[in-house]
Symmetry: C3
Subunit: 476 residues, 3 copies
């Protein structure tokens, strides 16, 4: 099932080189500077739920593909926004998923799942209608074992550090609990330098148009003891909250703005903030506020050293029917064209050459790989090209990323792989896939005599391990 040469180029000469390069990275610890695993999962260390709820229900890569063929989210147990009845029987959901598993042929989702079934759970069969029950029983049995608790898997996966993502108004209690927990080797499970760290993601505080924004601004005041009724107070509260996040291990922030637009104008930001609090901000102002805040966050990063990550370009909740029926993050997002050259200039004019500033750029619009991202990463000391993201986090997407970025920005202005996942059990599969694809790209360069074996070996290890540790500030 899981071929040792999977994802390597077919050409024998190149494959042999790829195999050798992958051998050097295969056992390196996993560094995961950006992802969406729930910190409580590790803190509470409870058994995982049934296979359907572990693998299918929360994974919008899977549910969206089935929906694209007419299987409704409720048939897959996705909880509806309005609490309407939805399939509750795990085995039924699992069978439904297995019937449609052929839809994923050749996709990264299937590569990740097949890897996980085999390497993590020891199932060496093909999932399908005939084997659905066998898989379900096998997986259920394994999940009941202590060796399949989150922290046991974390260690078995050889994860060195895993970053979660929290909003400033989220509780950091799970991280506090983890910080108390010894993890061996002089480390702790959480806190600064811990195995699980947080990431400061303030999107829901800088989007005045999102439902509940005003309540979250109040919650921020309550958490920090600052007066968020003024823009200065809002900024002070955010700065203070960043210190809490840093104490919970954070080395990074993350920003999921609709565009990469930035604007350096604190006075305008303060005015829009005031009008937004009064419910009087215009549509244009609501769109402008995140652009202004991005520069404010850059200003904070120069002070406190948090590395910025920017994930723009997702037209969220595009599928209105899915959004109304099942809420956010169920697979209804569609990318937009995204611009960086002009949009980031105000931020880069302000801080792009500051020795303490660092920003990692991601994109869902691969046209910017060679046109904007690589020249920016290869032209500003502060800018790094983030790993291919979401729809591009795939063998072909990663290959195109390397082919389009490497020749302009080199390898050392790229930030290394991030798994960006909430699917904890798939983390080893995702890193292995990325390491194989990078090994394959490097192998081609070696086979074509564009790099030496020795250079490629060093680059492979740097990409898999040293670069993400260094660029996301995880070396300490």
């Amino acid at each position: 099932m899981l071929h040792p040469d999977r994802l390597f180029p077919a050409d024998e000469r190149t494959r042999a080189i790829a195999r050798e390069l992958h051998r050097r990275t295969a056992d390196l610890p996993l560094v995961s500077p950006h992802g969406h695993v729930d910190a409580r999962l590790i803190a509470e260390n409870r058994p995982f739920p049934d296979p359907a709820r572990l693998f299918v229900v929360p994974d919008h890569y899977l549910t969206r593909m089935l929906y694209a063929q007419g299987v409704r989210p409720d048939e897959l147990g996705v909880p509806s926004a309005a609490g309407e009845p939805s399939e509750v029987d795990g085995r039924t959901i699992w069978r439904r998923f297995a019937e449609h598993y052929y839809l994923f042929r050749g996709t990264p989702s299937k590569l990740w799942l097949d890897h996980t079934f085999a390497e993590v759970f020891g199932i060496y069969k093909e999932l399908g209608p005939d084997t659905a029950d066998e898989f379900y029983d096998h997986l259920s049995a394994r999940l009941a074992e202590p060796a399949y608790r989150p922290r046991a898997l974390f260690d078995r996966f050889n994860i060195e550090v895993l970053a979660t993502t929290e909003s400033p108004v989220d509780s950091l209690e799970p991280h506090a609990a983890l910080a108390e927990l010894p993890a061996g080797g002089g480390r702790r499970w959480g806190g600064r330098g811990g195995k699980v760290v947080t990431t400061f993601r303030p999107d829901n505080l800088v989007e005045p148009g999102w439902p509940g924004w005003r309540e979250r601004v109040d919650a921020l005041a309550a958490i920090t003891g600052e007066d968020t009724a003024t823009f200065d107070g809002f900024l002070t509260a955010l700065r203070k909250r960043r210190r809490d996040f840093i104490a919970a291990g954070a080395t990074c922030t993350d920003h999921g703005n609709l565009t990469a637009r930035t604007e350096d104008d604190p006075k305008a930001a303060a005015e829009i903030y005031a009008r937004a609090l009064d419910g009087e901000a215009t549509e244009a102002e609501i769109l402008r506020f995140p652009a202004l805040m991005l520069v404010e966050f850059a200003r904070m990063s120069v002070d406190d050293g948090l590395v910025m990550q920017l994930h723009p370009g997702s037209n969220r909740n595009h599928n209105q029917w899915l959004y109304e029926g099942w809420g956010r993050d169920v697979g209804g997002d569609i990318p937009n064209t995204t611009e960086y050259t002009r949009d980031l200039k105000p931020l880069l004019d302000a801080f792009g050459n500051h020795p303490r500033f660092r920003i990692v750029l991601y994109t869902l619009d691969e046209t910017v790989f060679s046109r904007e991202i690589a020249p920016l990463a290869g032209g500003y000391a502060s800018v790094f090209a983030g790993a291919p993201w979401w729809f591009l986090d795939s063998p072909e997407g990663m290959r195109r990323f390397r082919e389009a970025v490497h020749e302009t920005a080199g390898f050392y202005n790229t930030a290394g792989f991030v798994d960006d996942t909430r699917a904890f059990c798939s983390i080893p599969a995702r890193h292995d896939l990325a390491r194989r694809v990078d090994a394959s790209y490097l192998a081609r360069l070696v086979a074509e005599h564009r790099m030496t074996d020795a250079e490629a070996a060093e680059v492979a290890v740097d990409l898999a391990y040293h670069l993400p540790r260094k660029i996301y500030g995880l070396e300490t």
Copy 2:
């Protein structure tokens, strides 16, 4: 001349897999759900004209390439708009073409023609100045034979169904004639379930800015007996005419709008329609009307089940001199950037999740493959990714399409190949090329252990045969 391994990857391991996958699809019937063959060609079944008028004069892929090197359309016998003298001697045109055949080296046009010369006409030489006359004589002799009449070739080509394209104001008489004609095996040549079916393409009725629009609106009234002086009457006439098209076998509509812009506002549509009839619509209104009509056609599709096809993004008649001298469709079109995420949202909000609605998206802007088309096809049950079109209907274009779309949308949200051609004799060559390219892509996935042989074999057959039949509603 025609190598059995043409278009397969060079790597021996991958080539062997591709060869085997192609073997499974090579003899499947040809399903052609979208094209521009004239229905009269099959209905009348007359001999084809001379080789120049069959192959060169009407093929703007060929005439544009020669024009790009300075050979004027009149030198190739293309009839001028004003009836000015043009080369009339077939052999002279053919020789001129043969002299410039080297311009097509490695292009799909040459691959199609070489295939057609060899497989359809039994010429196993290279066309060039030295062989021009030999080709001309050989082709002329064959074309005079009964075995080279359109219907004989249709059957020899193993075409299961061929869709033509007509405007609502075009006559459906050729289709009516075909519907009377038995075709063996209990089928008829035309009509519902026939071998030749029509497609409803209303572009020239929804573009008030095109010359003769008002006359066509009147013609629609005359054909349908409806009063098209009101927008309601116009819609009623279109709905009625769709029923005629369905009787003539149509399962699809087609829309060649300049952009993918859509708008759901029947009231605005009615107002613009009234102003356009009065000759008072503004430029902006003229551009807006097709966007509004796209949603009206979606509304009709939900009722009558016709599958929508959208072919946006062609800046038609870009070459003003060609247009003025030789009219439409002579190779003067140049693509524009095209946007789908925002532009299609109104249509998708209205019908994108309707179980009876289906739309196939094509593009001339390949930047949307991974950014918009694949996420839309993989996120809406109604949306399918259409085959690479026109300038992208080529080995490299098809490969990039698969590489960019497959990992997000899978194979089963893509609609399969359409040949989209008016060059009847090239149909087998075009399908064979597409099947070879898909076999090659699948072979790489197998060689890289990303799919199994068995999976790839099933997908190859689905792409070549089952998916187009299913998605374009041709299974009956």
Copy 3:
């Protein structure tokens, strides 16, 4: 170090074909129709400076990569705009560069340099911290030898013709000196048909917003004896100056506009010109003037036969800190999206079908390769697709260019390679790289039976030699 099969595909079958194709082009003379070598270099024929000043200091590909990792331009000896102190010791700069040479692994910069070190200077080692001094000494020794003077290298490099780039207000004296100098074989070093020719690049006269514009307009008056206080006089002066350029061997113009926007409106141009001279042009007018002038230059080209080159889309001096500290052309430019279909239409409406007009289109936005450039080059007799430029002038960039352009425009509507460099010693490396990449693309087409060996052999020679000579008017 320099593998004879470098840049060829790994697959043995394809590699053997590529090797044979490259053999046919490897020793062809170098034709360089577009570049930035200083004509004085050849005219004065002085020894090159030390290795750091020859290779590192003026090469913004190198300095930008080091800056992207935090090495400031002054640490590399780049002269500051304000005359601030900067590293002056060549050896120190060289060592600093060698320490960071690993950043260029697999990039074209390293491929060019490694080729140059080996083939031009006879160093068969890897540059790095350990070998920095050895390289420096070896290179310094060679550079002191007469065989390493510019004209000796020019002949050793087998350069048939090299185009420099000058502004209308630049002195053509070096070219005049070269025109006096016999070059053997009945040719002269400069002048019409000479080995070194100029190119007319009027950017700094059509950008009223650039510092010193007014002074340059006055300088143009002084040089030509025309009254540039009126737009007519300005045009007359430019036309006159083009005759001087033609006498200095020019066959081409070059235009580095921010966009490809064109507008045919001499009256508007005259009005803006007058307002710009008075310092009263608006920002919009300043942006519009180059678009209007592009059509004026096309009008001149129809008269005097100079081939236009268009290099749009570079957002110059994007890095404000670099620009303020070190001025123009130090690596601070970032590309923008660029549009050609709509933007070029006014120019093409006016002259796109004129038999005496020719324009070569370049781009930094590779999304236009298949969408706009190839259809335009394959649809207008006057339009040719220029070689991949700057960030795209790389093995992967060139491959993508061929894959995206060839199938629509063929090979004969592409203009052949231009090295576009100021790094004189790297010219053979750049041409060799391009010839290898083209040989590899052609080899794949042959291996996949999409072209014959004989066709590919002819195309390879055409691309490397005949096409640039023909299209840039260098055949005389």
